[in-house]
């Protein structure tokens, strides 16, 4: 078992990443190994304190490109807004969310959860290449 695989599995065991995220990381690792014929490079490891932006890039062969850089502070501010919502409104909001097909309780969002999520996301790097040649990347820097 390579060191990279061990690290991903340790993060999954510690609950720092979800099963889907671990699967995406292992897939990326396997692709690099097949392409390079050897152990993959280490996943990008960034000190969590240095994480400032979430980047989403989309490149398509048709020339439709999207490049979004969102400061993590915006995500934190969004979480804080949910904490400011009056408790009386939670039921209505949850109902509206459920009508869209999502079973989600807005009162379960807490600022501590966001910090844990950001900690786990420090090593997340999503790379999607479609058959049409479109590329989607989501990463944190």
């Amino acid at each position: 078992m390579t060191e990279e695989r061990r690290r991903i599995l340790n993060m999954l065991a510690a609950g720092k990443i979800s099963a889907d995220e671990a699967d995406a990381l292992l897939d990326a690792l396997n692709k690099r190994q097949r392409a390079g014929g050897g152990p993959a490079e280490s996943p990008r490891v960034i000190d969590k304190k240095d994480l400032k932006y979430m980047r989403v890039t989309v490149e398509s062969l048709k020339g439709d490109n999207v490049n979004v850089k969102v400061p993590l502070a915006v995500l934190r501010a969004g979480i804080k807004l949910s904490a400011l919502v009056p408790k009386q409104a939670y039921a209505q909001i949850n109902q509206k969310i459920a009508e869209q097909g999502f079973a989600f309780d807005i009162s379960s969002i807490k600022p501590d959860d966001l910090e844990q999520l950001i900690d786990a996301l420090s090593e997340l790097n999503v790379d999607v290449n479609s058959a049409q040649g479109d590329k989607v990347r989501v990463f944190f820097e």
Binding site: D64, V66, V68, K69, P71, A77, L81, P86
Partner: protein
């Protein structure tokens, strides 16, 4: 953390047409702070009254939140390009 000082919007159409907007947010912040400072006592009183009535609503927090959210926007950048690499149909918004 300093709020963004400028907002830049660039819209490029086909054949080199397009325009850009440069919005000096540093002129907006003092006005926003003034509005918040004026509204703060009223918000505090309203929150106290609602709390005593058993219906707590964080009015003060909601009043201060826009400033925090706008401050967090520093560095936000959205760049959307369509129609090919010659720049047809491009929208770029940045907070600096």
């Amino acid at each position: 953390m300093m709020p963004p000082m400028f907002m830049r919007v660039r819209i490029a159409g086909g054949a080199g047409r397009g325009f850009g907007l440069w919005i000096p947010l540093f002129l907006v912040w003092p006005l926003l702070v003034l509005v918040i400072v004026v509204a703060l006592p009223f918000a505090a009183v309203a929150e106290a009254i609602l709390t005593m009535a058993g219906n707590r609503v964080r009015i003060v927090g909601l009043l201060l939140w826009p400033m925090e959210a706008l401050t967090a926007c520093k560095g936000l950048s959205v760049d959307v390009q369509s129609g090919g690499r010659n720049g047809n149909g491009r929208v770029n918004v940045e907070f600096n």
